[in-house]
């Protein structure tokens, strides 16, 4: 029965949306992406920044941050501490008919009632896939000796193109976070109000109330 995983802040009942493992993974990911983009800019626009920055140090920082990029996500998925994360990955994967309709009509039709709306699901999937793409294409660039010149050209193109897409996704993600304080709050202290859940994620809220899958 219902011993909801919540705490009281003021009068609002708060529900756990992201546990500590998920938040740690999210923010570690955020730091790594920030470092990667910050070091990518002088590497990409080298003719300007190269005059003032120690290129070699920038390169090494980019390389090691890149290699570390998959670590937070993988670490948050494995082991007994990764149960909630694994469950959310399944949420990212499975879409209801309503959600597909919602996505197709960009929110005008269908309905988003789940813990994550289709936009959030797509963002999560895109980031996960991009990490893999960047890791592989970046590795080809780093250890190019093992690849044909055509593959190196392809990897350069893919690495650069995805970098642009990732920056666009992060800008959008950050904008949404800053304009949706409740969502941002849930990635900081882990919780949302019951009210928010009932309004934005009614299916999930009902699931929580009935001691569903997120009840742990």
């Amino acid at each position: 029965m219902t011993s909801l995983d919540h705490s009281r802040t003021g009068t609002a009942v708060r529900i756990l949306r992201f546990d500590g493992v998920q938040r740690a993974a999210h923010w570690a990911n955020a730091v790594l992406f920030t470092v990667l983009i910050a070091t990518a800019i002088p590497l990409y626009f080298g003719s300007f920044f190269g005059l003032v920055l120690p290129r070699h140090a920038v390169q090494l920082t980019h390389l090691w941050s890149g290699l570390a990029l998959p670590v937070p996500v993988i670490a948050s998925l494995v082991g007994p501490w990764g149960r909630r994360m694994r469950r959310d990955v399944r949420r990212f994967n499975y879409w209801t008919r309503d959600e597909i309709a919602w996505m197709r009509t960009l929110g005008r039709g269908g309905a988003a009632r789940e813990k994550f709306n289709p936009g959030q699901k797509l963002n999560a999937v895109f980031v996960a896939a991009s990490i893999l793409v960047m890791l592989v294409s970046g590795s080809i660039l780093q250890w190019f000796n093992y690849f044909s010149i055509s593959q190196r050209e392809g990897a350069t193109f893919v690495h650069d193109s995805f970098a642009f897409l990732i920056v666009a996704a992060i800008v959008g993600h950050t904008y949404m976070a800053l304009t949706h304080r409740d969502s941002l709050h849930s990635m900081i202290d882990g919780t949302v109000t019951e009210e928010w859940a009932a309004q934005h994620a009614p299916s999930w809220w009902r699931e929580m109330k009935s001691g569903g899958a997120d009840h742990s």
Binding site: L122, G154, F164
Partner: protein, 240 residues
């Protein structure tokens, strides 16, 4: 009641959209690598040159420097020293070089790591012209090139150095070479990958065997032919 542990079992019909999107995005990346340069050229042509300068469509230089900085050498103070197994060791100023017969061409600049810049204009003196001035002695096998950055070095065999398109260049991209591209004078070895086109050229030494340069010591082939062959004039096939 909770469902058992990890299981998040949807209670209404759902589709595995996330997995398909994941596979699709990763597939796009794999396709891009597999198609290689072709997809880049295709998009570059489609997008036109204005976009090409900012988007990753191909005609961008990535600037490398082995010493971590770009040496600043004034055009007036610049000297190119040519010594070693020569009859007349000489030192040239930039104006000396500019007064010699000039050679120009346009060529795709190709980096060994996989980026290219199409139609790069070069202008300079044929290296063979300079070698004729100093007089290469019999028994000389190779040239060692030194850079003002104090760290980089390159090599060419005497035969490679006499290829007509090997330049001691002072113009690139239709203007005097900029600092990050190796100002005021660099090599252009257009039949080889970019690392052979040493920047901030300070000295040429004529020697009796190939001294591997910075990039060669870090695993690049000593003969960096673009087509990946050992090349027509490669005296040391084992190195390539």
């Amino acid at each position: 009641m909770t469902t058992s542990g990890d299981d998040y079992l949807p209670d209404e019909p759902r589709k595995a959209v996330g997995r398909r999107a994941f596979v699709g995005i990763v597939g796009l990346g794999a396709l891009g690598v597999a198609l290689g340069g072709r997809v880049q050229n295709l998009l570059s042509n489609a997008a036109g040159s204005s976009l090409g300068s900012i988007l990753p469509f191909g005609d961008r230089f990535r600037i490398y420097s082995v010493s971590g900085n770009y040496p600043a050498i004034s055009r007036r103070a610049y000297r190119l020293e040519v010594t070693g197994m020569v009859d007349r060791p000489m030192t040239f100023t930039l104006s000396d070089l500019q007064a010699m017969p000039a050679t120009s061409y346009k060529k795709t600049f190709q980096c060994v790591t996989g980026w290219t810049v199409p139609d790069v204009e070069w202008r300079g003196v044929q290296l063979s012209h300079i070698l004729n001035l100093v007089g290469v002695q019999p028994g000389a096998v190779a040239l060692t090139f030194e850079s003002y950055d104090g760290a980089d070095g390159e090599s060419l065999t005497i035969d490679q150095a006499h290829l007509p398109d090997v330049l001691v260049a002072y113009e690139m991209l239709g203007a005097p070479i900029t600092r990050e591209h190796g100002a005021p004078v660099r090599l252009s070895v257009p039949q080889m990958y970019g690392y052979k086109s040493l920047k901030w050229l300070s000295a040429i030494r004529v020697v009796d065997h190939v001294h591997l340069g910075y990039w060669e010591l870090n695993g690049y082939p000593a003969n960096g032919w673009l087509d990946g062959t050992t090349g027509p004039t490669n005296p040391n096939p084992g190195l390539a």
